[in-house]
Structures are given as structure tokens and as C-alpha cells.
């Protein structure tokens, strides 16, 4: 057990060190949602009228509405990025090294996931701080209650990235992942517009959004930021997390030999 914990700490620390060394990645992770918040939201505020819906008690501006969605966006991009960096050959080498450690593969993958989740969460808090500086504030307690929701969301999206990385052969396919996973997941969710608004334009789109696990992560974060509990969002997020983790473990199962196809 001690061995397993020493290894987990080292894996998490390595993720953190890697992140510290890639300053551009941190800046990009912070600037991306801020651009959305300050530019995109300003334009959309005029076009979209939002009425009061839970967990909001009063009329809110569009900027306030999309804060949870942008938190989700950070988790999504970061989860994909840290896992997809595995597709690089150099990174694949370090993955090979990791997988030769005398510990169960599930534990090693989980440790890696935990590392990238912690990095994601630090970025979300940096973003929330920046949003606060721009006068988009939340209930003080919300900054604390959102933490478990961020952990779950980070694990879910990290596990999805890890699962994808075991199936993607080359880095060139990253563009495909952007087009077919990240963008649909982000745009077909409640991150940018409330679901009822979606229903006004298309019932089908609404149903797709409602089934998207990313929607549930965003809603879980949204409610948690306002110190409220959303049981359904939690249930679906947890279920999706378990499913993606199982997929990642399966993808990296030596019996299937993901490396066989990597050549």
C-alpha cells in the first residue's frame, strides 16, 4: 500500500511539474475562457434574453450564466489535452515506462488521471479569480462547494481523454477529436445556453443536449457554485465517469494491446 501511495504522489507531482514547465499551456487555458467571457458573452447578452431559472434567484446577466460552462470548458480542454499528449511518441515512451511499474494498471491510470484533474481544478480557480476581478461574483461559500463537482467533472473528462488516447493512432487525428468530440460536447450542452432555450429551436437538439454527459457536469458545477445540490446531474456525471474510466482501463489493457495498433 505504501508503495502504491509513493507512486501516486510521484505521478501527480510529475503532472504538476510538467504543467509548470509549460507556461504557454497555462496562459492558453486561462485566456480561452476569459475571451469567451469578456468578448463572446458581451455580444450574446444583447441577443439572448435569459429568464430566471434555478439555481438563480434573480435575473442574471449572460456573463454570469456562462461562468459554470466555462469552468466545464477548462476541464474539458485540459482533460483532453493532458491525455492526448500521450499520443506524441515521446509521451508514449513515458507511458510505456509508467506501465512497466510493478503496480496494477488501473491504479497507475487512476493516479495519472488524478494528477491531470488537480491541474484542471487549479486552472478553474484561476479563472474564477479572474472572473471575480471582472466583477462576476458568486456566493462566497460557492467557491468551496464547487470543489467536489470539479473533481468529478475533471475525472470524467480526463478519463474520456485517456480512453480516446488509447484508440487514436496518430497526433494528426487530434483535429478529428476536436471536431467530433470536443466541439459537439461543448456546443451541444447547457454550457452556452439553457436547455429550455434550445428546446424552443429544436426538440431534437434539446434531447441530444440533455443526454450529453457534459451538460450534467456543467449543471452540477452550476448548482454547486450556488451552494445547491443537483441529484440528477450528479447521478449522470458519476455514471459517465465510471463508464469512461472502464473504457480507459479497457483501452490500456495489455490483453487488447493498444500498442499493437500503435505499431
Amino acid at each position: 500500500m505504501r508503495h502504491a501511495l509513493i507512486a501516486m504522489r510521484a505521478i501527480v507531482l510529475r503532472e504538476a511539474l510538467r504543467f509548470v514547465h509549460q507556461r504557454e499551456r497555462f496562459i492558453a487555458a486561462l485566456v480561452r475562457p476569459l475571451v469567451w467571457l469578456l468578448v463572446f458573452a458581451a455580444g450574446f447578452r444583447a441577443a439572448l434574453g435569459l429568464s430566471i431559472s434555478p439555481p438563480y434567484q434573480t435575473y442574471i446577466t449572460y456573463e454570469t450564466y456562462i461562468v459554470p460552462g466555462l469552468c466545464g470548458m477548462i476541464l474539458l480542454f485540459n482533460g483532453m489535452q493532458s491525455s492526448l499528449s500521450l499520443v506524441y511518441d515521446r509521451e508514449m515512451g513515458s507511458m510505456r515506462l509508467l506501465l512497466t511499474a510493478p503496480l496494477s494498471r488501473t491504479w497507475l491510470l487512476f493516479s495519472k488521471l488524478l494528477g491531470s484533474t488537480i491541474i484542471s481544478i487549479l486552472q478553474v480557480y484561476a479563472f474564477l479569480l479572474a472572473a471575480w476581478l471582472f466583477d462576476i461574483t458568486l456566493p462566497p461559500l460557492g467557491y468551496l462547494t464547487v470543489l467536489p463537482a470539479l473533481v468529478l467533472g475533471g475525472l470524467m473528462l480526463g478519463a474520456l481523454g485517456l480512453a480516446l488516447s488509447s484508440f487514436i493512432k496518430q497526433l494528426e487525428n487530434f483535429a478529428g477529436v476536436m471536431n467530433f468530440v470536443i466541439f459537439p460536447m461543448f456546443f451541444l450542452s447547457s454550457a452556452l445556453y439553457p436547455l429550455w432555450k434550445m428546446a424552443e429551436s429544436s426538440e431534437l437538439l434539446h434531447d441530444i443536449c440533455a443526454a450529453n454527459p457534459f451538460t450534467h457536469v456543467v449543471e452540477l458545477i452550476r448548482f454547486a457554485l450556488y451552494v445547491e445540490w443537483n441529484g440528477m446531474a450528479f447521478f449522470w456525471s458519476a455514471l459517465a465517469t465510471a463508464a469512461f474510466m472502464a473504457l480507459a482501463v479497457w483501452g490500456y489493457d495489455p490483453a487488447r494491446g493498444m500498442m499493437t495498433r500503435k505499431g
Binding site: 508503495h3 513515458s94 512497466t100 511499474a101 495489455p254
Partner: protein, 238 residues
């Protein structure tokens, strides 16, 4: 036997990569896995390091069956991969600490071993340098020092001299031979370069997924030079 491979076969779909491969390497022996490109060396290494699971056949490392006791087997195995697996943004010492932790070593115990391993490879002065700043030879030495941290009984090296200049290649080859006789570690060294093999080494000649010959290099080649013997057996131009 420190390393035993019995009747190992593996195919990628319909393409057979290894066909009934069997050999064993004794304690403290340097064995060269010699074969031209595409002979199946990399597949064999992937199976030995458990990146793939064996389809048929058995592998035993230091007496542990890789299928039934994989963690015990991996704990006795040191690996130097063909491609570099150092984190270039970390220092030599940080790289080694990370690996030590994967094997459950931390704190002073890990540091002592790191110092000893670096000293053995003549790398102690570079411990604080970033891996990115090291030349190819020093990166390789760092990886070998790392692979020895947990005192493995079996050391696998997959074409470790690729991309190195001739003097560095010679020094590295000599070093691993010395290591073998000094510490009693069993070495399996994959290569397609005949000048890395000594007459006293065991040679396992792999060609198109099959073992063509297995024995002492001196006895196998007889009066012929090893490159000629190798060319004759594999039909490959040297």
C-alpha cells in the same frame, strides 16, 4: 534460468511476428538478441515488458511467470527502451526520483540508490542538469542508471545504441558487459549491429520471427567473422 521464453508466438492480425520462439538466458549472462530490422525484436520486447500480453507461450523473469505473477516479474525487470523515455524538462535526478517512486522507493533510500547508480555510470556530476541539455550518450547512460535503480535481476535493452556515435557506442557496450560480470545482472541486448557482440556472449539469432541459432558467439561463428556468419544466416547484406 533468469530469463526463460518458451514457445512464444505472436501475430498482428494475420501477420505473424513471432513464431514458436524459445530461449533462455542464465544468471549474469550477456545475451545479444541479434536480428535484422523486422525480425521481431521489438515485438518480443513488448511482450517481455508486458505492453502486449502473450497470445501463446510463456515468459518467466527471475522465476516469476509473467502471466500469473506479473507484478513480481516486473519488479525484477529493468528496461531501457529504444526511444528515449526521459522527461526532458526535468533534471537527471528528478527523472530518477520519479522512477524510484514508481518502484516504491522514496526519501533517503531512493537518493542513496540514485547516487550509487549515477556514480556507476559516471553521471554523478550531471545529476542537477536538465535532461534536455544532455547529449545522446549521456541520455542513454541516465536511462541505464534509472533501469538499475531497483536492482533488477534482468536488464532489457532495446537497441540502446541507436543514434550514438562510434566511440560512445563502444563505451556503452563495454560498460554493460562489465556490469554483467560485476553485478551478476542478466542482460538481454537487442541489436542488429554485430560489432557490439563479444565471443563470450550468448547470441540469439532472430530472423522473420524465428530463432535461427542460439549459442555462444565464438562457437556459432566458428572461423567466420560474425558479420559474415550473420549475413549467411539471414541472407542480409552487411
Amino acid at each position: 534460468m533468469s530469463l526463460q521464453v518458451s514457445d512464444l508466438s505472436f501475430s498482428y492480425g494475420t501477420k505473424t511476428a513471432l513464431d514458436g520462439v524459445s530461449f533462455s538466458v542464465g544468471h549474469g549472462q550477456f545475451a545479444a538478441l541479434l536480428g535484422p530490422n523486422g525480425a521481431g525484436k521489438s515485438t518480443l520486447f513488448s511482450l517481455l515488458t508486458r505492453l502486449f500480453v502473450t497470445q501463446t507461450g510463456e515468459i518467466s523473469i527471475a522465476g516469476h511467470d509473467l502471466k500469473t505473477a506479473p507484478l513480481a516479474a516486473m519488479a525484477d525487470l529493468g528496461v531501457v527502451f529504444q526511444q528515449t523515455t526521459l522527461d526532458l524538462d526535468l533534471t537527471v535526478r528528478q527523472n530518477l526520483r520519479y522512477f524510484a517512486a514508481l518502484h516504491g522507493l522514496s526519501g533517503r533510500a531512493a537518493d542513496n540508490r540514485i547516487d550509487a547508480a549515477l556514480e556507476r555510470l559516471g553521471m554523478e556530476e550531471r545529476a542537477g542538469e536538465k535532461a534536455r541539455g544532455l547529449n545522446g550518450g549521456h541520455r542513454r547512460r541516465t536511462e541505464i542508471a534509472r533501469a538499475l535503480l531497483h536492482d533488477p535481476k534482468v536488464l532489457l535493452l532495446d537497441e540502446p545504441t541507436v543514434g550514438l556515435d562510434v566511440p560512445t557506442r563502444g563505451a556503452l557496450t563495454r560498460h554493460i558487459h562489465d556490469l554483467c560480470s560485476d553485478t551478476g545482472v542478466t542482460v538481454l541486448w537487442a541489436t542488429h549491429l554485430t560489432d557490439e557482440v563479444l565471443d563470450s556472449d550468448q547470441v540469439i539469432l532472430l530472423h522473420r520471427g524465428e530463432v535461427l541459432a542460439d549459442g555462444r558467439c565464438g562457437a556459432l561463428r566458428g572461423d567466420a567473422a560474425l558479420p559474415d556468419y550473420f549475413a549467411r544466416m539471414t541472407g542480409a547484406p552487411v
